[in-house]
Point group: D2
């Protein structure tokens, strides 16, 4: 009998701190040996000349989720997980959205029914809370008991937003249970007040979406929610930071001893307002909230990526097709308020970050691992099972060809979308193979895993040291 179910041979392994050459021995889905030379694999994968990295963990994506206005994302747990896997991810944590009137268990059961039969990689959920009634707050411990240890709350969107008092409620309940609160931080009133005036003035094109979500709206909200988190001494994770001022607030709070974490997203590093300004409805493809900004913002955000302000770079994959099921649901000339927010990117997050980060010398390979996998694992309670290559960890592994050069195309996304906002960009470095608990999900660019082969991962309390 073979000592290992699988041996990955000859690759260059990188963790968040180290880079070394070793073979990896996998048994029962876990890494059980690392050595200069391992024999005895029932199966082997030759990784010579390749980088062997912890599989990516996608911490921010919208999969088979209804928006508050009722529109369903284009990707379900099958296409979403397949796209994630082709993009170098072996695990993801989409949202389970509690809409008004829904209970906690009801919500989680619903998402289990969506994910379990379809996902090809492991998954958990962040529980969106839009209605923190007494009843819902009382039911939250059931979420913790199931291993759902992070919440997401919104400071904007009329049907989702919580007031400051509700944020304090959530933050303090989360803290009491070792859970993490994630927040979409934009000032709702600034957005509404501005949108009203823009629409009244006939400014309806996609580009006015960005004008109605000014940088000030994000900065104000980030400052406010950090104040609330500091007041109750609770950990906080600010999603999709799009402004250097917002990043700076996060950094300063952490320097002052608060446990404040944040991510940014590829759209803020790789796209700008010029994309949104494309003629006609074309700009709708580049609409997201907060909106893409400008080149100076990109530079400043990169500097925060380099300096360690952000725990992760996440995709905020929010797939709405450029047709009447998605972006154009409000018609071919819909005003920006009738156009679904969000864009796809779950397959491009890591190739873009690798190419522009590692290959261009902005970040080290170890930083790439931290930003793409390890920090998410620690922040979201997936550690030590996920997020690294170490003895005892799940064999969630991405094998990259660091030299492969590609032009971004829709075909490479493997999602249910009809466009990619990154179309035509050139990247160097590509994930060829992704293993989930030792099983090949993607092997040299071929899908190998069956729908439903991924499993729910019960998460622990957060490690926010």
């Amino acid at each position: 009998m073979a000592e290992y179910d699988l041996v990955v041979l000859g690759g260059t392994i990188a963790t968040a701190s180290d880079t070394f050459q070793a073979d990896i021995g996998v048994r029962d889905g876990r890494i059980v040996a690392l050595a200069e030379r391992l024999d005895g694999g029932a199966e082997t994968i030759d990784a010579t000349g390749r980088l062997v990295l912890p599989g990516g963990i996608e911490g921010h994506c919208h999969i088979e989720q209804e928006s508050s206005s009722g529109i369903m994302s284009a990707d379900d747990y099958y296409t979403g997980s397949v796209s994630a896997a082709f993009g170098g991810n072996s695990c993801f944590v989409p949202f389970a959205a509690q809409h008004k009137g829904m209970g906690v268990t009801e919500t989680l059961d619903l998402y289990d029914s969506r994910a379990a039969p379809k996902s090809v990689i492991d998954y958990s959920y962040h529980l969106i809370i839009s209605d923190p009634s007494e009843a819902v707050l009382a039911e939250l411990p059931k979420a913790f008991a199931r291993g759902v240890t992070s919440f997401k709350v919104f400071m904007t969107y009329d049907l989702m937003r919580l007031g400051d008092g509700q944020l304090l409620d959530i933050l303090s309940v989360a803290k009491a249970h070792g859970a993490l609160t994630m927040v979409h931080a934009e000032n709702n009133d600034i957005i509404k007040w501005t949108s009203k005036r823009l629409l009244e003035g006939g400014y309806t094109a996609p580009r006015y979406h960005a004008i109605s979500h000014p940088a000030l709206a994000e900065e104000e909200a980030i400052n406010r929610v950090i104040s609330l988190a500091k007041f109750v001494d609770a950990p906080l994770f600010v999603v999709h930071v799009s402004t250097p001022e917002g990043a700076e607030l996060v950094r300063r709070a952490r320097q002052a001893g608060a446990r404040i974490f944040a991510e940014t997203c590829p759209q803020y590093l790789f796209l700008t307002r010029e994309d949104l300004d494309r003629p006609g409805m074309e700009g709708a493809k580049f609409m997201c909230s907060p909106p893409v900004r400008d080149a100076a913002t990109q530079d400043a955000l990169w500097r925060h990526v380099e300096a360690g302000t952000f725990a992760s770079v996440s995709s905020d994959h929010a797939p709405y097709r450029f047709d009447e099921t998605g972006k154009l649901m409000g018609g071919p000339n819909a005003a920006f308020k009738q156009i679904a927010n969000g864009m796809p990117g779950i397959a491009m997050r890591l190739p873009l970050l690798f190419s522009e980060g590692v290959v261009k010398g902005r970040i080290s390979l170890n930083q790439f691992v931290a930003l793409s996998s390890t920090n998410a694992a620690k922040t979201f309670g997936l550690s030590p099972k996920k997020g690294t290559i170490a003895i005892g960890a799940d064999a969630d592994i991405a094998i990259w060809d660091p030299n492969e050069t590609r032009t971004v195309s829709l075909a490479d996304q493997h999602d249910a979308m009809d466009y990619t906002p990154f179309e035509g960009m050139r990247v160097t470095g590509w994930p060829r193979t992704v293993l989930s608990r030792g099983r090949p999900v993607v092997l040299e660019g071929e899908l190998k895993a069956a729908a439903g082969s991924g499993a729910f991962v019960a998460r622990g309390t957060v490690d926010l040291s």
Copy 2:
């Protein structure tokens, strides 16, 4: 016929920039001559050895005003103006409070009926807006037309507070008419959330008032309202800043080009939490919002006073007697939420600032004039009639004995109160005489003016250069 109705002889005059010896010639209530030697006064006042300053302008005081919970301030326009005059002021700008359901003209008419028959010094109002309905917004130009060119809004107090969108409405209307928006900035939800928990826990003593109004609540709100003002490029005046972080936000916004102004108050410079912590209900005398803080905060606020962060030091005179008409309205053991907020100080603002500021060498005499009078005149549209000693200006003059030393006592307040929070402090420098448009209101410590001798001052648009 005498050339001057009055000549003030031999004093040392100070303005916000200059100090010089001169006689002052007054005719028809205005300063018409300044000279080394003036003859020909029908009346004379000998100011030899005295400081001759622009009369103080009190920009923040609550006179004959019902609070949102219905409690009437102890001082009416007679006692309030008399106390102000004894404290070196020749003009004040109390609030005209629009409570829910009241119209703008209705509100101003009401306050005219209160002030006109009683005030011994000139006055105007800041119009408090608690209900910016369409109808009220439409009526605002009538306020401007009457010369009421400043609003006050609240971010806290359930019956007064405006949401961020309403703040944007007010800021943009005010800006369009050259008017100024003043704001009480504290985060309402932090205060309510904390108060609820404190009261549930049985923490009802006055000292818990301060705990329910943490520094973070002020800092957050100041940051937010500055963001809103910057967004619509409107001028803003932040009242009663009690934290150095709040002051720093004001300073930084102004450095960045925004027209953001602020005041602090004697309670934050001269009192601390130890006063509030006095046993029993005694602490209620020192309750105000935002609350008094600590010694380190005092030091830091003084540094902001010295460095020019604050336009004014105002009293926030909010007189509630220490009896069942005021502080003890909720009973002798009322929880802090049932105790009226605010303390008197209109007569002590200037002696305290002079003694601790000028005499102790922290600020120059010219800075004292700016902080006590000139800046308020400019900020609130009273300039050039008020706020300085210059040709053409109203003869609003305070004559100080810079050497007189006093121990603060209730008797010297001349208000309708039964306590002063500054009781027993020692001050050097005292206003002996106050002229309003050349008429003696207080002459060598004696009241000379009749009720109703003060007049309403129509104000212009604000000078915020």
Copy 3:
């Protein structure tokens, strides 16, 4: 006999805090009356429709001064003072430069012999100290006794620069006598190290001068000298600040309670590197130290001007003709190190600041007065005799036509130069008449004063509140 030697009629007077209409009565060179209407002037000047301002005080100019390399400035005390007067100044404070080996009294006597017979406006000196030997330090009280209460020291230029220990010596001696230390702050080693490499590489054109004086060199030196001043708690005045980072250091130090003051100059507000980059030796006309920077720097410095970071805007008039007596002394192809640093501007400082500051709405008329005159008077111990229009002050008055529009030309400079760096700029607002102690120096654009009619002003200890 007339009551007044002179009455200035009907003008709009502005001080650093006030603006008002009044006549001014002058007797024995001093302002003795301000009134709505003054009769009885032996002479009168009609200022109807004009601005009547305190005469400008030029606090930074090089007049009849040998540079450390021995080159004499083009302007002597006659042409220099005439040019200053045409530019709206009634007083100036050039440098008296102690070069190595010279004594204090010797230096001051030398400059008295230069100024007394020639100056048409009042003057004092800042004493440059390049050699703070024991003997020189011991002689300094004689400077104070003569009314020279400010020093200038250099952190760069091999023949002038002092080490940090010497700076501590000067700062502490100055402080002990109520005197002020002024400093040219650039890091000498950065400049030398870079210049050497540039010259070795053949980069000799004027534009490389700016590259050898990077912004970092100024920022470092300002930070260092502020540290030294804070260490001995001495007041400090940083001359010709050319970087917003430098200005910010000054502002932060003052906010922290240190008495740190600064000026900027027209070249940093109105010229840029593009001027220096002009072809051939043309760029030499725009060489000064620190060098002119770029448009973003200009904007940021203006914001500091507006927000009150700078006490003054001074000219740093350093006139070297564009011929072999000045800029081209090293020959027509001299390397930048052989080209004299500095440019003229004493006549343009105020028209430029008025036009771009007041007329364009960046600063108020009162700020203009403060920046051009009042603050210099206070900072340099000329107050209360100079720097304002008030009873008892010297009748040093500039009468401006606020509407006159001019194109800057050499002819309007009235100096000994053969170029002006501001040639061709359009300005609105022009000083028509300048009075010095009541005497017309320039009257409606005509020179009226004789050489030597200006007088040395003994200065007091500095007012740095």
Copy 4:
């Protein structure tokens, strides 16, 4: 034949990013296998219940080094390396000090002759340069060729200090060769100027040493040297940062994209001015430069440790005995200037950091590994051979009992000293065993290695991503 020379069994391994249970297989001094279970070790060490960490790397210590004033440190390479090993270190990088007149090769040969026969752990040197003459600069490539890829320079001490131009020389040469410049940053003139006045005034006790080295002197120098490094875009490592302002400067520079790194030391985290203030000469034991500060400084520095500002916590072990060979060389009543600076601590650095950092919950175990070993390996070019537990790395391992509690005593230091400044402190967590390339140096508290068994490590260019 056994597969492994040594297997470490059953321990909990931690790297800078991961914590996991595994056995470690060592062959030929390197880690060749990590597995859940390893058999086949010729030798085994049972680490059950223990932490198995990368051996500490001490990056700042003075061993067998003459100070510039000629005093030899008490520890030679034998006692120094033994003490280091007992303190959990498997590698150290003392200084090779070039004093004036010495060549580069001469200096390194001298230190080789000291270290090679004595050290029990691996070692390299930072080359101190006190005399960067043309000849010395020309010889530097020989140091790089030998694998000495870091310099140390001083901004203070008359016999050691370099001017800013010399610093630019060193920084740019180092950068060109991928080497790192380390700097002792204090303003020399402030120290000298102050010391002179203190000594003249008779203030000679050890406590005045601290007064002559104010925080401002460090802050100024750090700002200056960072400016220099930024100017030539060279990496820089600031040693023994003792002020939060200094740490903040480092952090801000890195945020702005500069490659600026820093360390702090146990003395600044665990000792204060109160120690220095002990009566008589006792305070001399606590003298070091920069000096120990106060409790508020400690707190702020800890926050920087937590937030990742510092790459390392290093000992700055500078052992001078409390007798006439060391501290008292100048006699029993020597003035502070005659007392040797520095204190021992090479054996206590890690136990103190573990106990107060990890056990008290301020930092994670992974941060401890980074601060004690991994970051030093990366920063100083020892990576990937040293500084982690990974396949291919040297088997430099420290095995800790996380629960062992000790009271700090001289006996546990194993150095040549007669005191420890940390005497009597209580620590939890103790290094029991240290392996160097698989060889036991200390085994369960017993010294096992012979003098000279450590080896020189040629270092590579620095990894400063």
